[in-house]
């Protein structure tokens, strides 16, 4: 996965350079070659030609942004030729983007491929913007032989009558030979016969267009990488030994972390249901999916909920209901840990370990969402209401509703002031009445007390190292200012792992305690020394004397810092005393739930080598050789 992606990134970087160098010439003299595929945009919109548009840095950025969606490589086709995907639906508004610049970029991108055989998949439909005739003509004229010669196949998907006609005409006049390379395709299912469809990160607009042509995408050989509705232990291994959480969950969490945390009504509101279905099916097909192209946080959030809901065995199966009910009634008192301990040491231990791991990831995300309730309006209560129903699927749906209720939530009516509602006297509610809704709410509120740090070998483990190093360098962990140099880091790391909100970095800041190495190994949930529970507020890292003082002194668990301290400590403790690892790769820790053990160093090195290689060796000449 990361192979082609990085390749793509490298190519883009490269094409930027070339375009920068070449754009001047090309603007003046369209001697440059142009791909004829561009020639069949419908002419109905004779939009203004931004011929004389001022070339600002801004527009450069915009072009770059457009380019990544407009044209990209999707691995190789069945004949191992590089497969270049062009996507007309990503054509930008001509008023925003200089089309000449765009043309230059497209050509220079194609230059990477045209020296040897390649094929092009062109999604013709779904565009809202069409370039003007002038541009089309220019592109058409600048098409030189070298672009045609090695193009072995051109698949045009979802073409309409006009594009077909235009193409036939052009093909007949200019080059009948070229004409023969064109294949018109109506549906994605049909395309799947010609190219490895699942490699293509299909844009949302194309999915929607495809729905007009067929109801369902069928692969010639049904290769189902089923995700939804597959037993969790099949995907993860009973103890999570198969490596990490399901792909779709990971993607959703990562995407939401990067872009969606502030979205109002996250996990509450619905996305476009047709697209939701397409994405879900894409995951089930084993298709490449990048949620970024869909760009809708609600889609990711509901996809995550849907995944949980579709589990054949819900995360809280019916046999756990009595246990849920027996949980001590949660209160608002941060010092009250009885329910926390119960959930931690009794309820969660009842679940298969893979369920625990999944819940751990999900609640970590939800906890972070709830910290931003000022902007997204989804506090722990609201999140619990919308999440709990997805964690149960008993035989009696009405019973499930009862179980998911959250008594004592914010009052619905002004008659009951919200303030007293959630702090209503717990004694009045009898034992055995605790609902899953309440448990979930508490899990979101006090995530760091309830869940342990998790070893997870599937994600890049470098965050701890960096945070660690920074913290140690900048002074003691107990310094009162938790403001960490988060933003500069974030800005300089556009890749996904490193994009995190401030709170996250604050968390990182709090991770590190002055603790000797080797205090504990990877612990399973609930394995901490029970004695420690008696006199400190619940921290999963009960072994560390230093932690206690901290906890005692901050009774309020609402603040991000105080909540976040406990579990990550483990990671560091486990990760031994090698605190001075480099922090060059990433800061912030989207992938927190792991122990930063020896794995950190290893992965870090790998990653570093991987990223730095392109700098030393320009990848350009490598590419055309791929298939020869």
């Amino acid at each position: 996965m990361s192979g082609p992606l990085t390749l793509k990134q490298r190519l883009h970087a490269l094409s930027t350079n070339i375009a920068n160098a070449a754009s001047g010439d090309q603007l003046n003299s369209p001697k440059s070659p142009g791909p004829r595929i561009r020639a069949f945009f419908s002419p109905n919109a004779n939009r203004r030609q931004p011929e004389s548009g001022p070339e600002t840095v801004n527009s450069q950025d915009r072009v770059q942004e457009v380019m990544t969606k407009l044209i990209f490589q999707a691995g190789v086709d069945y004949e191992t030729r590089p497969m270049v995907v062009m996507n007309a639906s990503a054509l930008p508004d001509p008023r925003e983007v200089n089309y000449d610049l765009l043309l230059a970029r497209i050509l220079s991108y194609l230059n990477l491929y045209v020296e040897s055989d390649y094929s092009v998949v062109f999604f013709a439909a779904g565009g809202r913007h069409t370039p003007g005739w002038n541009w089309v003509w220019k592109a058409y004229r600048s098409l030189s032989r070298k672009y045609r010669k090695n193009l072995k196949q051109l698949y045009i998907i979802h073409s309409n009558f006009f594009t077909k006609m235009l193409f036939s005409l052009a093909g007949a006049i200019i080059s009948p030979k070229f004409f023969r390379k064109i294949t018109y395709i109506d549906t994605l299912s049909e395309l799947a016969y010609h190219v490895p469809l699942t490699q293509i990160d299909i844009p949302p607009a194309v999915y929607q267009e495809n729905l007009k042509h067929e109801k369902q995408i069928n692969l010639p050989v049904p290769q189902r990488a089923n995700l939804f509705g597959v037993p969790l232990d099949e995907l993860m291994g009973f103890n999570g030994e198969k490596g990490g959480i399901p792909r779709v969950v990971k993607d959703c969490i990562q995407f939401l972390r990067n872009t969606g945390m502030q979205e109002e009504g996250l996990f509450r509101r619905s996305p476009n249901s047709a697209l939701l279905k397409q994405v879900k099916e894409a995951y089930d097909r084993g298709h490449v999916v990048s949620l970024d192209t869909f760009g809708d946080p609600h889609l990711a959030a509901v996809l995550l909920k849907k995944y949980l809901r579709d589990l054949p065995e819900p995360l809280f199966p019916e046999n756990t209901y009595p246990l849920v009910r027996k949980c001590p009634m949660p209160t608002n008192d941060p010092a009250d840990v009885s329910s926390v301990i119960y959930i931690r040491e009794t309820l969660l231990l009842e679940l298969p370990h893979c369920s625990y791991i999944l819940l751990n990831h999900v609640f970590h995300l939800l906890h972070e969402v709830s910290l931003r309730s000022a902007s997204n309006r989804m506090d722990a209560h609201n999140l619990a209401v919308v999440i709990s129903p997805n964690l149960v699927a008993g035989s009696n749906p009405l019973r499930d509703v009862t179980l998911c209720a959250i008594p004592g939530g914010p009052a619905l009516y002004p008659a009951q002031p919200p303030s007293n509602a959630s702090s209503s006297n717990p004694a009045a509610l009898t034992e055995g009445k605790t609902t899953l809704g309440l448990v979930v709410k508490l899990c979101i509120q006090r995530y760091y007390e309830i869940f342990d740090d998790l070893p997870d070998r599937t994600e890049v483990l470098s965050q701890y190292a960096s945070a660690e190093a920074t913290v140690l360098a900048s002074g003691s962990w107990s310094s009162t200012s938790p403001s960490f140099p988060s933003s500069p880091f974030r800005d300089s790391h556009p890749n996904r792992d490193s994009m995190h909100e401030d709170d996250e970095d604050i968390d990182d800041a709090m991770l590190v305690m002055p603790i000797g190495p080797g205090t504990s190994g990877n612990r399973l949930p609930g394995a901490s020394a029970p004695t420690s529970w008696n006199h400190i507020t619940p921290s999963s890292s009960a072994n560390f004397g230093t932690v206690r003082g901290r906890y005692k002194s901050t009774p309020s668990r609402d603040a991000a810092q105080s909540v976040s301290t406990s579990s990550p400590t483990n990671g560091n403790a486990v990760g031994n005393g090698g605190t001075s690892r480099r922090g060059s790769i990433a800061i912030g820790r989207g992938t927190t739930r792991k122990s930063a053990g020896a794995g950190v160093t290893a992965t870090g090195i790998t990653a570093e080598g991987f990223f730095s290689a392109p700098g030393n060796a320009p990848p350009v000449p490598l590419l055309p050789r791929i298939d020869k």
Binding site: G265, R268, R269, S270, P271, N272, S273, A274, V302, K305, R309, R377, H381, N382, V385, V386, P389, N390, A393, P397, L398, D400, V401, T402, C404, A405, I406, P407, G408, G409, P410, L412, Y413, P414, P418, L429, K433, T435, G437
Partner: protein, 198 residues
């Protein structure tokens, strides 16, 4: 006042966050629910006088379509009238309505004239509006259902919705004066019951 009480059960369905609760609370309680709290399930009872007869509207406010999908079937089987709610500011919530509408038809089978009202909410947010009146007209004739544009905040057309529905139900089930059934057989709502009786 008599022994004859016409009772009609109504269920309110729609995507999450479109304003189902706000609509119901505005009707049942006469106030605007400005809190931002998703619903699991709430039940409201309203006494209404219609043509000199006492009617009781038993309104079930439900979670967004995204939550208890399994439960929709139960709701649909149980209810006689349906309020399908979408947000005028979110075009894609119409899709959820369409899905639910088809589900209702599937479950209710061949029954004709199922009392349904389609409600677009948040009419006051004119600047964020995504669903045009033309779309609504088109769908109304396509589905053959009455559409209302409402604002729970400004109390626009809220009562019209429920009275239209009540009207439809009265015509659809004319001769079934029901005694007040025991409502307590379902204990759906946990310890706190939030029934409103007007």
């Amino acid at each position: 006042m008599a022994d004859l009480v016409y009772e009609y059960s109504v269920v309110v369905l729609g995507a999450g966050g479109v304003g189902k609760s706000a609509l119901v609370v505005r009707y049942a309680q006469g106030q605007f629910l400005s809190d931002y709290n998703p619903t699991i399930e709430e039940q409201y009872r309203c006494d209404v006088q219609l043509e000199g007869k006492n009617c009781v509207l038993d309104i079930m406010d439900t979670a967004g379509a995204e939550q208890f999908t399994a439960l929709n079937e139960v709701y649909i089987k149980r209810a006689r009238g349906f309020v399908l709610v979408f947000s005028l500011t979110q075009e894609n919530t119409l899709q959820d309505i369409d899905n639910i509408r088809q589900q209702i038809q599937m479950i209710k089978g061949q029954e004709a004239n199922i009392p349904i009202v389609v409600v677009g909410t948040k009419m006051d947010l004119a600047r964020e509006r995504e669903v045009t009146r033309d779309t609504i007209k088109e769908l109304a004739s396509k589905w053959g259902l009455p559409f209302y544009e409402t604002s729970a905040k400004n109390n626009w057309h809220v009562t019209d919705v429920f009275h239209d529905l009540l009207d439809q139900m009265r015509r659809r089930y004319p001769d079934e004066p029901l005694k007040r059934r025991k409502q307590k057989k379902k204990t759906l709502k946990g310890p706190k019951h939030r029934c409103i009786i007007m």
